[in-house]
């Protein structure tokens, strides 16, 4: 029972982290740009999926309607995609994009029709979810040779490798901390209590698991009676 709950929580956490990364990390679509325009866009409960208010391009006409640049595009297989083109500001996601005017000009310049398609790679983050009126934010547009071009996501490789390294380091630090600080302290507790046998068992039981160990370590700072 408890194992199942524990695994359930782990899977949910992993899923949240995965979705968060999928939303935030850059992706590239190979598309053809068919239209660029501005639209007064009402922003309500979906504000989380738009730039924060004071970032520049989001000229707010009222509190809840924002003039936002959009880019319409079509994939090689005929599916369409709508990107928004907003500055990201100084905080999150950390793209530090301030050139949405320039990007819109580039997008307009690379506009093409079906007869003479100009294929471009649109770097973007975010999701398109019509039900919540959420659009991915275009970050960069580069012309490519054709719809079959192969793009290697170096940025994502570097970011994921770095994250893996950070997790590994945190794990190593935790193990070192446990080995050097917590376990000797617990051994100390064990020695002190050695005479009173059953109390050692109690202390050991307490020292099980992540927080148990931390708690037991904190207890060793208390004055010994």
């Amino acid at each position: 029972m408890w194992t199942k709950i524990k695994w359930g929580i782990r899977i949910v956490l992993l899923l949240i982290v995965g979705l968060f990364l999928h939303y935030t990390m850059p992706q590239r679509d190979v598309v053809q740009i068919i239209n660029t325009y501005n639209k007064n866009t009402p922003i309500g409960a979906n504000w989380m999926f738009y730039s924060i208010e004071d970032t520049g391009t989001g000229v707010e006409t009222t509190a809840t309607i924002r003039d936002i640049r959009f880019i319409d595009a079509v994939y090689a297989d005929g599916d369409v995609m709508v990107y928004r083109n907003e500055d990201t500001g100084w905080f999150w996601p950390p793209y530090f994009k301030w050139d949405s005017s320039t990007l819109q000009a580039e997008a307009t310049n690379l506009k093409s029709d079906k007869a003479n398609p100009q294929w471009v790679a649109v770097t973007h983050y975010g999701w398109r979810m019509p039900i919540f009126s959420i659009f991915p934010n275009a970050v960069k547009i580069t012309p490519v040779d054709g719809p079959d071009v192969r793009l290697i996501p170096w940025v994502n490789i570097v970011i994921l490798a770095f994250l893996a390294f950070v997790i590994l380091m945190i794990r190593k630090m935790w193990l070192q901390f446990r080995e050097r600080m917590v376990d000797p302290a617990l051994a100390d507790v064990g020695e002190t209590f050695d005479a009173a046998g059953e109390r050692v068992d109690a202390a050991r039981k307490e020292a099980r698991g992540f927080f148990g160990r931390i708690g037991a370590w904190l207890n060793t700072w208390k004055a010994k009676k």
Binding site: W90, F91, P94, F96, M173, E179, R180
Partner: protein, 92 residues
């Protein structure tokens, strides 16, 4: 003023990471020195004071060494990443 707030928060976080990593790195070095002493048969039977002196000397050496200075990368690399992102997104 957004960038000031971001820079402030970033360097506060990096300072915490710098100190935690520094403690970890010292701890690893100390453990290595202890094991070096304990695993050396030539040092068998020497006094705990000598062991302590050996470890302290090793730590002084560590404090002056390259490895400790490499910890500054904790500040340098994110700053470079930050500036590179700004350049690549807006100017290239």
């Amino acid at each position: 003023m957004g960038w000031l707030r971001l820079a402030f928060l970033m360097y506060v976080a990096l300072t915490i990471i710098y100190f935690v990593t520094g403690i970890y790195s010292r701890s690893v070095r100390r453990e290595k020195l202890e094991k070096e002493w304990d695993g050396d048969p030539a040092r068998e039977g020497r006094t705990p004071q000598e062991r302590q002196a050996f470890i302290e000397a090793g730590m002084v050496h560590y404090d002056r060494g390259l490895k400790k200075r490499l910890l500054w990368l904790i500040y340098i690399l994110p700053t470079i990443g930050f500036l590179a992102t700004i350049y690549l997104v807006n100017w290239q």
